[in-house]
């Protein structure tokens, strides 16, 4: 089974600096990490690989080449290949253009059985790329999956957190999963795996390699644009204690007992 994991490199701490007129923040200048939800996605892929011999896990990520080394971690964890999709023409992509670029990359990889994404990125927080990508590829998807149970040749059984219930569904392959929360944590790689990972190359592909139409990439292929940015002003609040912990706790509980005794202490 060929599994592609879509991963995003995000700022470690999300801040507000950016070049807003061009729809970008300064990704190349900040300290970056792999999007936490995407590590859940990778773990699901690696678990499937453990169970089904002959599986291949390929990580793809759209981003600047200078951050490509972060993907080495995915190789150390057990991914077979890591590809960074890097091109100036990709810059400024909204969720539609991002989904398009990932679609081109997946078609370039070819014969992909399963695509796994994190449910959302920690910086954009839209959750739109996974389902958008699946629709472009015209394959079924399950977003908000938290369990992957069984695999037969054509189906994958997954647990799906829905708005008003929880369901177990069977999804036909090829298909796409967006993982919201996976019970198993990502393990730390062994030292030997880290050393071996550093000997592998991160593949770099541009728009021409993946036969992407530049008009549908980056800022050109993005229908949405940021019109205006407002900085949030925080108002001043109520009673804030900042002296000694024990005394502060006493005053706080005393304050609360005056107003909320029946809720808190009965």
């Amino acid at each position: 089974m060929k599994i592609v994991v879509c991963m995003k490199i995000v700022p470690r701490l999300v801040d507000a600096s950016g070049d807003w007129e061009n729809n970008r923040n300064f990704r190349d200048k900040v300290d970056s990490v792999i999007n936490p939800a995407d590590l859940f996605a990778l773990r699901v892929a690696l678990d499937l690989k453990d169970h089904y011999a002959g599986s291949e896990v390929i990580v793809i990520s759209m981003g600047v080449e200078t951050k490509a080394s972060l993907l080495t971690e995915t190789l150390a964890l057990g991914a077979d290949r890591a590809i960074i999709l890097s091109d100036k023409r990709f810059s400024g992509a909204d969720t539609l253009a991002t989904a398009y670029i990932l679609k081109c990359a997946i078609e370039y990889i070819d014969n992909v059985d399963l695509i796994i994404c994190g449910m959302q990125s920690s910086d954009g927080e839209t959750g739109q790329v996974g389902p958008g990508l699946a629709s472009m590829l015209d394959i079924p998807f399950v977003t908000n999956a938290d369990r992957v149970d069984g695999l037969t040749e054509h189906y994958l059984q997954v647990g799906n957190i829905c708005d008003y219930c929880y369901t177990i569904v069977k999804i036909e392959l090829p298909g796409l999963l967006a993982i919201s929360n996976y019970t198993k944590q990502i393990k730390l790689p062994a030292l030997g795996d880290v050393i071996r990972a550093h000997q592998k190359k991160i593949e770099v592909l541009n728009a021409d390699d993946i036969l992407a139409d530049p008009e549908r990439c980056g800022i050109h292929g993005s229908p949405t644009m940021v019109k205006k940015i407002d900085y949030v002003k925080h108002c001043t609040g109520g009673f804030i204690y900042n002296k000694d912990v024990a005394g502060d706790a006493k005053r706080l509980i005393n304050d609360l007992s005056v107003r909320y005794s029946e809720i808190l202490f009965d």
Binding site: E125, Q128, K227, H234, I240, Y241, N254, L256, Y260
Partner: protein
């Protein structure tokens, strides 16, 4: 990019339904949609899925001009690709200029699929909407980049303009019993076979509804050393009969499940007391606690924005504050019981 904007007209809302009726979030969005439609001098329509006729009529009183009912049985299964195909086909025919969805898990996926099929823009989790009459633009406002700023997003060259909107943001208008409208059943011409098959459906035992039961919630943030503090937090929660929830960082770290997350991409709660431990108060998080009566913030950073909205606050490391609070609560209870 040449765009014949004139071809597109009207605002369309896609209803969220549970237990055979539209959700309150749908009525909120209808109420707001009516205002926007009036500003644009256009109509407001709504798509529902197998909704009883009498309940369709009720939607007129909240401002819907036409109710389009997708009545076919297949919509009962909430199968994403069927919804996406049906809506994409319907939008291609009806050409609304704006389509609004409620930001549930389900409709966030559906809207992304539809936008992708139509090649148009989609803005997630909006907390504010406005329109420009002369340019026929929808201003879509959402918290961005750690919640330090609000971004207003537009989609100038593609139609329809699409957004998902957070529940519990807009008030529900008074229904106007005199307002009338049309209803129409929509038949979908083409079905592909479902490719996601339902095996089992469970009512969630824990989840957003669970959090709604509590009058007090203790929320755990990034600033809490989870492993060291969880014992104390659970003890305090038991003393105060409080539920436990968290910010996104705690979910991402794998400590608590997603349904306990509060904020933009989690739940919105309306408890009376919200005790925020080690939560900085990014706007993303604050979106989820707008309806809370009193916020109590404990954070070691006196500059943390959470103190700006807190009714009460304590500047302290959580690890140090917890044992003091537990002791004070126990002592208060002891004295109180003795008095009784």
């Amino acid at each position: 990019m040449a765009l014949t904007v004139a071809k597109y007209d009207g605002i369309l809302i896609v209803a969220d339904q549970a237990e055979c009726d539209v959700t309150t979030a749908t009525l909120e969005l209808l109420s707001e949609g009516r205002k926007l439609a009036d500003k644009l001098h256009t109509r407001l329509d709504i798509v529902v899925f197998g909704l009883e006729r009498s309940k369709q009529y009720q939607l007129h009183t909240y401002g819907a001009d036409c109710v389009y009912n997708f009545a076919e049985e297949i919509f009962n299964d909430r199968c994403e690709s069927q919804y996406i195909d049906a809506l994409a086909a319907f939008l291609t025919k009806s050409n609304p200029e704006i389509v609004l969805f409620i930001a549930t898990y389900f409709f966030k996926s559906i809207s992304a699929g539809v936008a992708s099929k139509l090649g148009t823009g989609l803005t997630a989790d909006c907390t504010g909407l406005d329109v420009d009459f002369s340019e026929r633009l929808l201003y879509q406002t959402r918290p961005a980049f750690g919640g330090n700023l609000l971004a207003t997003v537009v989609c100038p060259d593609k139609r329809p303009q699409m957004a998902t909107v957070r529940p519990h943001i807009f008030p529900i208008a008074e229904p106007d019993s005199k307002r009338e409208g049309k209803t129409e059943d929509i038949k979908t011409a083409f079905w592909r076979k479902p490719q996601v098959h339902l095996m089992e459906r469970m009512v969630r035992t824990q989840g957003e509804d669970e959090l709604d039961k509590y009058q007090t919630l203790i929320s755990i943030g990034r600033g809490v050393d989870y492993k060291k503090c969880i014992g104390g937090i659970e003890e305090l929660a038991a003393l105060l009969k409080a539920g436990i929830c968290c910010s996104r960082a705690v979910v991402d770290a794998g400590f608590l499940p997603r349904h306990q997350q509060i904020g933009l991409t989690g739940s919105a709660v309306k408890c009376r007391i919200y005790i925020a431990l080690g939560i900085s108060g990014a706007l993303q998080h604050l979106v989820g606690i707008r309806a809370v009566e009193t916020v109590i913030a404990i954070n070691q950073d006196p500059q943390a924005p959470i103190f700006g909205i807190a009714g009460y606050g304590m500047v302290s490391e959580i690890e140090k504050a917890l044992p003091c609070l537990i002791q004070e609560v126990k002592q208060y209870k002891l004295i109180n019981n003795y008095k009784k």
